[in-house]
């Protein structure tokens, strides 16, 4: 009996003391992991350009993307998910903040839906994201391209290339915003490109950069976009509620 009571007491004591928690140790090695595993790849630019060339054969693709910006104490993000049929049809869901939006475009018939109501918008003219990457690499070739260990993106085993080069203004001429004086617009950005090991197609692009905002300090930007569903027979019908509101020409 005494032994049993002692056991029960010991259990209760362990339970009561366990809540005091564990000390949090320092882990400096975490910072080095991302850097030590990459190697210089002299053929890196060529590999990325080849992957971009393969995308020219596309008629349809799907895109899933996330833009994150960390500023002050907050991490805000925008998410996109949708289908593009080249040269000019788009059906994309967007989440900005807590709100959902839908973008539908068929040539010049371009609208976005906000809170159940459709509004006209300027048609998106360049629907081939890889062309801006090609322009970047041609106009501002990176001095060094690193090769990272192979990674699996969704289900595709990919070669990963990483380089730092110019954070150039829009080169496609469709949308350019003019900077505001006083800030520190980034001169450069870190680009990471995932190329499918099987067919050499472009799978994912990540762009990381920072900007110095007056009064606010550094805002960091991280934009990732994944391309998939290549040349699937995607039909993009006009949303019914759009047709009930606007007559398609």
């Amino acid at each position: 009996m005494k032994k049993r009571q002692f056991g029960l007491w010991a259990l209760a004591l362990v339970g009561a003391t366990v809540l005091s928690g564990c000390n949090l140790q320092s882990h400096p090695s975490v910072l080095k992991q991302a850097i030590i595993t990459r190697e210089v790849d002299p053929k890196g630019v060529l590999q990325v350009l080849n992957a971009i060339s393969k995308m020219n054969a596309l008629k349809t693709y799907e895109v899933k993307a996330q833009i994150q910006e960390v500023a002050g104490r907050f991490n805000r993000q925008v998410n996109f998910y949708g289908t593009v049929r080249l040269p000019n049809t788009v059906y994309v869901d967007e989440t900005i903040g807590g709100n959902d939006y839908l973008v539908y475009q068929d040539n010049k018939f371009a609208y976005y839906r906000d809170n159940g109501h459709w509004y006209p918008m300027q048609p998106v003219t360049d629907l081939q994201p890889w062309q801006s990457m090609r322009a970047l690499l041609v106009n501002n070739p990176p001095k060094v391209v690193y090769s990272l260990p192979e990674q699996t993106v969704t289900s595709w085993l990919c070669n990963v290339y990483q380089f730092t080069t110019a954070a150039q203004p829009s080169v496609m001429g469709t949308f350019v915003q003019h900077g505001v004086t006083g800030g520190k617009v980034p001169q450069q950005a870190l680009y990471t490109v995932w190329v499918d090991t099987t067919d050499g197609a472009l799978r994912q692009i990540e762009v990381q950069s920072t900007v110095g905002v007056p009064q606010l300090g550094t805002a960091s930007i991280d934009a990732t976009q994944l391309y998939f569903g290549y040349n699937q027979n995607a039909t993009l019908p006009v949303p019914e509620d759009l047709l009930s509101q606007v007559e398609k020409p």
């Binding site: 002050g72 903040g97 801006s132 203004p169 009064q215 550094t218």
Partner: protein
């Protein structure tokens, strides 16, 4: 014994205390164990439950289990509808009570009146502390809870800020938002404003368009038996820089502030239409530049609008500002003029060791760089530079703290992973601590002469989940030693505040996706310890009851 207790009215207060203890023990101890220690915590919970149950003789056990389950079920049911409207809450409550009494009568086999007494006790407890926030009670008491009262999802977490209270020296007022309910005749007032005031015409048009999505800026301060709220005046808001309330989904949305009468109103619009954002996204080769420009233009727009509404034209912090790449101003009568790559002044802090200088330094931030600038008369210059990388960018998400109690501040930087930096006498940076968990983040500090206590949002010890819970830590011998844990998720934008007292620090926080703010004060009653002691006492009582029974045989 239990039957004796629950079937006499004179002993019902003991049953009320048991109900409160059961809920507290479940929320503070069992929930804490399972969150922090995963499966090991579940094992501990099972062990503690078995110890508790088998401490009592068999004849007491049945009623003990049934009553305990009944108390927990009622408490869970009450928690599930706290977020509904008042009319639905009343209807739900009536239905709940009827169902609970029927269930209780069937399971616990107590009289309806006694069961009703237990339900009322749990309901009153819910009024004291909402059960969803009960995890905070291990460390804090909840002084104030404010809801935004808006169905609009545009604001993911309500911005909170603190200003000096002009009527109570050393104390502060809370500035926050309230969902605006359109008033009768308000649209006409805006139309008149549009017609009579050309400068405000565009704002008035937008205010009419966004009437269903507007917010009033209010201040909250102690008053009467609790807290009073009034519309924030431009003079009060002038104490705040624009970014304190203007970073709602920055830079993707832009908050606009307008003066309507003596009140300040805010509405939020998209910085770019979904179509424009899609265009930006589909050009990865230029997206860094495009988003940077969007960040700058949104910030510029909010800042100009804020200055227009509040009259705050100076961007000086501690008397210092950055103009055209030069830190200028006066610090304690000394003129400062130092070229810098910074664009924002973070403040003046003692970053260098006291052995080097007793004059604190200015800390400025530029594009992914922090500079420390000495303010020593006649020798103002950049003394140290800390650069971020694209993988570990240095945002303004920094807490300054004297962790070692040596009157030198360390930088607690929320990179991913979070790090602690200390400046050496030679101008080099020491990386004192690096978090092993990517989601760990520093929030604020409670100042203490022997070393500040860090308030952080930290994931559990044994888990791969990034979910964070409030925790307090001291930095000792290269590790963070836990001081407290309060199991509450989604607390964001935490500030050390002096709202109800000029001496005792409190914690002001907003909750992500729940549109409410809370003011927490360190609890004077050690609820966690009391709950644990009561557990031990109850186990002893059970064992005594067993012994008594055996002796009787």
């Amino acid at each position: 014994m239990f039957e004796f207790l629950v079937k006499r009215w004179r002993t019902m207060p003991l049953i009320a205390i048991y109900a409160v203890w059961t809920i507290l023990f479940y929320q503070l101890v069992f929930t804490g164990w399972t969150i922090e220690y995963s499966f090991y915590g579940v094992l501990a919970v099972i062990a503690a439950t078995l110890v508790f149950l088998f401490a009592y003789p068999k004849r007491d056990r049945k009623l003990l289990i049934r009553l305990t389950l009944f108390i927990l079920m009622v408490s869970f049911a009450l928690t599930s509808f706290v977020s509904e409207s008042m009319s639905w809450r009343i209807i739900d409550y009536v239905v709940l009570v009827i169902l609970a009494l029927a269930l209780g009568r069937w399971i616990v086999k107590l009289s309806v009146l006694r069961l009703l007494f237990v339900v009322i006790v749990i309901s009153l407890m819910q009024l004291w502390v909402p059960l969803s926030d009960l995890g905070l009670l291990s460390t804090f008491s909840i002084r104030y809870i404010g809801h935004i009262n808006s169905p609009d999802k545009q604001v993911p977490s309500i911005p909170v800020a603190l200003i000096n209270d002009p009527t109570r020296h050393g104390s502060q007022e809370i500035v926050t938002l309230r969902g605006h309910a359109p008033l009768k005749g308000e649209a006409q007032q805006l139309i008149n404003m549009m017609a009579n005031d050309p400068k405000q015409a565009q704002n008035a048009i937008s205010a009419i368009e966004e009437l269903q999505h507007e917010y009033d800026l209010v201040t909250v301060s102690p008053g009467g038996l609790g807290f009073k709220e009034h519309s924030a005046t431009p003079a009060e808001l002038m104490q705040l820089p624009s970014y304190r309330l203007g970073l709602i989904d920055y830079p993707f949305t832009t908050p606009h502030f307008i003066n309507i009468g003596s009140k300040v109103r805010m509405y939020v619009s998209l910085s770019q239409t979904p179509g424009q954002l899609l265009t930006t996204l589909l050009q990865p080769g230029s997206i860094a530049n495009a988003l940077s420009n969007l960040s700058l233009s949104t910030s510029h727009s909010v800042s100009a609008n804020w200055a227009n509404v509040t009259g705050r034209s100076s961007h000086a912090v501690d008397g210092l500002s950055i103009q055209n790449g030069v830190l200028v101003g006066q610090y304690h009568g000394t003129a400062v003029n130092v070229k810098t790559s910074g664009v924002a002044v973070l403040g003046v802090y003692p970053i260098l060791p006291l052995s080097v200088t007793k004059t604190p330094q200015a800390v400025v931030e530029g594009n992914n760089v922090i500079q420390v600038i000495s303010l020593t008369p006649g020798n103002s210059k950049v003394v140290a530079t800390l650069r971020g990388t694209y993988l570990y960018p240095l945002t303004r998400d920094i807490v300054f703290a004297d962790l070692l109690g040596n009157q030198q501040d360390e930088l607690l930087v929320n990179t991913v992973p979070a790090q602690i930096f200390k400046l050496s006498a030679n101008g080099g940076w020491q990386d004192l601590w690096v978090s092993g968990q990517p989601s760990f983040r520093f929030e604020t500090v409670f100042h203490h002469a022997n070393g500040d206590v860090i308030v952080a949002n930290a994931p559990a010890d044994i888990t791969t989940s990034p979910t964070r819970y409030l925790g307090g830590y001291r930095f000792e011998h290269g590790v963070l030693v836990p001081v407290f844990r309060a199991y509450h998720v989604d607390l964001v934008d935490l500030y050390t505040a002096y709202v109800t007292s000029a001496e005792t620090p409190e914690l002001l926080t907003s909750t992500y996706a729940h549109q409410k703010i809370m003011l927490l004060a360190p609890s004077k009653i050690p609820w966690l310890l009391i709950t644990e002691v009561v557990y031990v006492v109850l186990v002893i009582l059970g064992l005594l009851r067993r012994t008594q029974r055996r002796l009787g045989q």
